[in-house]
Amino acid sequence: MSNFIIVSDARNCSFRDLLITGKSLLNSSICPTHWLISGSSEQLLKIQNHRMLRKSSIAITDKLSDTDHSTVVFLRVGDTLAPDALSLIAQHTNLHDVVYGDSAHGRARKFEEPSKARRPQWSPERLRSHNYVGDLLAASPSVIAAAGGISTLATLHEHDRSLRIFDACTSPHRIADVLYHSSQERMVPTASLSAVQQHCTRTGIDAVCTISEKMQSVRVKRRLRSQPKISVIVPTRGTTENLKGNQVVLAAHAIKTLIDSSTYQNFDVIAVLDSVTSSEGRQAIVDAGGDRLKIVDYDRPFNFAEKINLGAVCSDADLLLLLNDDTEIITPDALETLLGILEDQTVGMAGPMLLYEDMTIQSAGHILNPVPFDLYRERELTCTGAQHLLQVQREASGLIAACVLVKRSVFDEVGGLCTLFPSNYNDVDFGLKIQDAGYRVVWTPHAQFHHFESKTRTPKLQTFEVATIGARWRDKLEDDPYFNPHLERYIDIWKENVMGQRSVLDALGPTAPIASK
């Protein structure tokens, strides 16, 4: 049986809140050995003498000399610990040195359950943006000691505390169950700019950090150590379409806007042209690409993956930007932003926010639930997503290959795009291969591109594509680490699965047949 020390910061809190938290500790399935209350000796004295807690076995104190062999749990004053939270944590502390989980927020009304903040597995990129792990953290004594000790950590901003603890840990773990209950305001993660700046200094990240006060999220923009050459690979058949009222050759438009608008200029363009490309289309692409352009002819039956691979082997650059011909750069510093993410040795691929022509979201990274979806597709750009998911740079299980920047070494290591997927799921497979090789895949909202794909286009999935992706990655599709098992499946948004949450009206059933009598 594990021993637990609960740590709460009692500064600027009411006695009522302290009592609420205390009551929840008494109702816990495993009774903590200590409750360390820091920051207010007055509140400590009051709670120590309260009749309810006086008789309990919990030692309430403000100092602890020996924390060995005990798991330390940080719990905010006013929050309540779920009755089975400590038993759930105890099941994981043998294998993991830091544990966090889901939370419930607000009050239950009638037959409705409170809102729940469902969290993804360990996502270090996201933690730099905001404290997505919530206010309850359980850590082993060694991690606590390495992170600065209980008394230091107890008084820090929750984002600062989380960053320090996760910097010191080796195997973090998310428990997909509600561990604590808090107020509705704590549903959205908080952020601290100074905490992130200190974290960057500690971990050697050379970056400019800025905070959005409105969204409570920090942007970490890494400074580039060098200006490596990028090969932009554009597979195309020279299609002409109407864009913003003008008839344009899509590939020529994508290349021209990239050359004209990007503030990063060290790139060449490799256009992989189908044999059916018209001479006008080819000429428009040549005119748009100028000196940077290299044309590679492709004369085999359509296979998107093969075209990308062909473009990649014809390149001598260390970085590859896979770019569909129906795209257009929006943020001029998009390439620098993506390059900055790839400065991290553990990141293999980075992708931007893709928007339709009307500025609605085309893709904010993939979720696998188990169908691969583009997250929040067709939602307004003003949509922030659950727990501000769309406002922060974060890990994803996959990115749409319409626009991704990938390290050449990683591309070669995983064998490029799989040619068994000529049109669908080659990007899903590619993302999973990259993660399987030990690299992270990061999506960012701070770089934006248009993807003029038709909203009405529904990909024609072939049975063999679904079968192949399932044969290779079924386990990953059904348990996406950047998803949560309690969320609704088969949809493209991060939404609590409320199938089981029925109302009284559901229970009473329809009234129409009786009413019509």
Binding site: K110, E113, E306, N309, L310, A312, V313, C314, P370, V371, D412, E413, V414, G415, G416, C418, T419, L420, L432, K433, D436, A437, T463, V466, A467, I469, G470, A471, R472, W473, R474, D475, L477, E478, P485, H486, E488, R489, Y490, E496, N497, V498, M499, G500, Q501, R502, S503, V504, L505, D506, A507, L508, G509, T511, I514, A515
Partner: protein, 92 residues
Amino acid sequence: MDAEAARIGQALDLLIARDSEIGERAKLRVAKIYGPTATSSLGTYDFSDSFAKRDQVSRRGDWVHRNWLRPVRFFYRHVPKPIRFAIKKLFA
């Protein structure tokens, strides 16, 4: 030119070989977890069968079909219409 074409062909073959190697390893892992024929009754993976909605976690919270609700529902359906609508309005 031929040398360049040969180099490209070789590089593409290398990518395919690497991809097959990773693919085979992934297939073995999946087979180890789900069994060699576990992808579905037809032997191929299919999203609709692979993760039945009935398996979703919060389905457990479905209290609507409990037996004790049946007499309550019967009573509700046979009370006068104004009362029934008042109840409905109350819980809407």
